[in-house]
């Protein structure tokens, strides 16, 4: 790619890298103080496992030529060992290998919500590897691998056969991770001890801020260059995030009596999730209310889901699953033909087929992610329990699993 494009893409890569400590702090701050380091370790550990899988054969599974031309899974041998990446052949494949590794790693990082505070660390790492291969790779192939008629490369069925519009991974990253977190939580069962208050809201805000910055690279980098689209989606991403914070805070104000910092930060992330599949399809004016509705619906969804028995500890399904679904349907309704994607929403007389396409993609994503993730966790649990003992859970995972503590003193 031209030097200007590469410069922006490298910057975007660095920004996306910020999402990992960001997610770790965002999640860790919401845990009890004695489970904070374990949460950091889950996010960073699964990131490292992703790199191992990607160097081996993961990148080929996602972006390789579709096996048998079926659009179901990429050829794992295509980038195996990344040996071809040493040559400057003009395709920038080394860069894309690195960029897509981060997409996979942030997805599994979000899934950590479902295992928070009660999963063995070794089991989490094994689960991460299996999840990347069996859940993420097929979905990412379906969504991120474009067919190229000129070279005869066949991509994934959702993108190329179904004709899904998903700008930067609303399905493959967010709905996938959300549904998977729910499945993992269902297999593990709820936490034994009362989970109490988040131990450090300041860390949560710091993490949310880093995620916000990282998202600019995530959506902006998906534009694949220093171009108008990159500038456009950075703007819609900003507006949706801020709308999301307002939406969540408004629900809290009218329901609970006051707006909270944790709520605003959660709404910010919900808005970012909602704009991820839609950043190129809506006008800047529409992106603000899109984020606002995502934040408001997620605020409601968290409370609704917490009354259910499944303990998705950090609400990944509500924030990433439901947030992504709401954002996608809002774009189906309000997409503007003036925006770069050129889609026309149903409200402006667009083709109702768009609603059907997105519904199929969402339904397949949720069913596949939940089902396969549940199966992986269930089978692993039968082989060897993936949950920590009641005693370890009571002591706290930082001391019980990692022999270290985040703080000199803990909250009473």
């Amino acid at each position: 790619m031209p030097p200007a494009d590469l410069a922006w893409m490298l910057a975007a890569f660095a920004l996306v890298l910020l999402m990992f400590p960001g997610l770790a702090l965002f999640y860790g701050g919401m845990m009890k103080g004695r489970n904070a380091l374990n949460m950091f370790m889950m996010v960073m550990g699964s990131m490292a496992v992703t790199a191992v899988v990607y160097v081996g054969f993961g990148h080929g599974l996602v972006l390789g030529d579709s096996v048998g031309g079926l659009g179901l899974i990429g050829n794992p041998l295509e980038y195996a060992g990344w040996t071809a990446f040493t040559a400057d052949d003009g395709s920038d494949s080394a860069y894309w290998g690195a960029f897509y590794t981060l997409f996979a790693a942030i997805s599994i990082g979000i899934v950590a919500s479902g295992g928070a505070g009660r999963m063995r660390f070794g089991a989490w790492l094994v689960f991460s590897a299996l999840w990347i291969v069996l859940v993420y790779a097929p979905l990412a192939h379906w969504v991120f691998a474009f067919s190229d008629e000129e070279s005869g490369v066949v991509g994934g069925w959702m993108r190329n056969v179904l004709g899904l519009h998903d700008y930067a991974g609303g399905t493959a990253v967010h709905m996938n991770a959300g549904a998977s977190a729910l499945a993992l939580a269902a297999v593990l069962g709820p936490r034994r001890t009362p989970h109490g208050r988040p131990h450090n809201i300041s860390l949560v805000l710091l993490g949310a801020g880093m995620l916000f910055v990282g998202w600019i690279g995530f959506n902006g980098g998906t534009a694949a260059g220093a171009n108008f689209l990159a500038g456009y989606v950075v703007f819609t991403t900003l507006l949706a995030a801020l709308g999301g914070g307002l939406g969540f805070a408004l629900v809290e104000h009218f329901r609970d009596g006051q707006a909270t910092m944790l709520g605003f930060a959660s709404g910010l992330i919900a808005g970012l999730v909602g704009i991820t599949p839609t950043a190129d399809a809506v006008t800047p004016l529409a992106s603000l209310p899109l984020g606002l509705v995502c934040g408001a619906v997620v605020a409601w969804a968290i409370t609704w889901l917490r009354r259910r028995r499944v303990d998705d500890a950090l609400d990944a399904f509500a924030v990433h699953g439901i947030g992504g679904i709401v954002g996608t349907y809002l774009a189906v309704l309000f997409a503007s033909s003036a925006a770069p994607a050129g889609l026309t929403g149903l409200v402006f007389g667009g083709d109702p087929l768009l609603a059907l396409t997105e519904t199929i993609a969402i339904a397949v994503t949720l069913v596949y992610s939940f089902g396969v993730t549940y199966a992986i966790a269930w089978v692993m649990d039968k082989v060897r329990p993936i949950r920590v003992s009641a005693k370890q859970e009571a002591v706290g995972l930082d001391r019980a699993l990692h022999a270290e503590t985040a703080y000199d003193f803990d909250r009473i």
Partner: protein, 112 residues
């Protein structure tokens, strides 16, 4: 010799120290503690989930003084700590049998 112990609101510590200095007290020990009196639990909201917070942050002050200073010190603490709200805390006085200054080994009134 008396041990005067007080539980006060955390943000009144500076006022209490000022009023104690004015009353001639030169030393004190303060620690961060948690507790509750008769007041109702405070409710906090996290992602819409209500949490009852029963134990509040408090500061405990301990001062050892000669018996004749007791009334002045108690009055100074009460003056500095009072906001008129529920949860302002308590002050109590206990007799102590022996005090030793670690550095010199002095005992009793010399050690104060």
């Amino acid at each position: 010799m008396k041990l005067i112990t007080a539980i006060i609101q955390p943000d009144r510590l500076d006022e209490v120290r000022e009023s104690l200095s004015a009353a001639g007290v030169t030393g004190l020990t303060a620690s961060v503690v948690k507790g509750h009196g008769a007041g109702a639990a405070r409710t906090e909201y996290y992602r819409g989930e209500a949490h009852a917070v029963e134990l509040r942050d408090k500061v405990r002050i301990e001062i050892i003084v000669a018996a004749d200073l007791e009334d002045a010190v108690v009055a100074a603490i009460v003056a500095g700590a009072r906001t008129g709200q529920i949860g302002d805390g308590k002050v109590w006085v206990t007799d102590i049998a022996r005090v030793v200054r670690v550095r010199t080994g002095e005992e009793g009134a010399q050690a104060l």
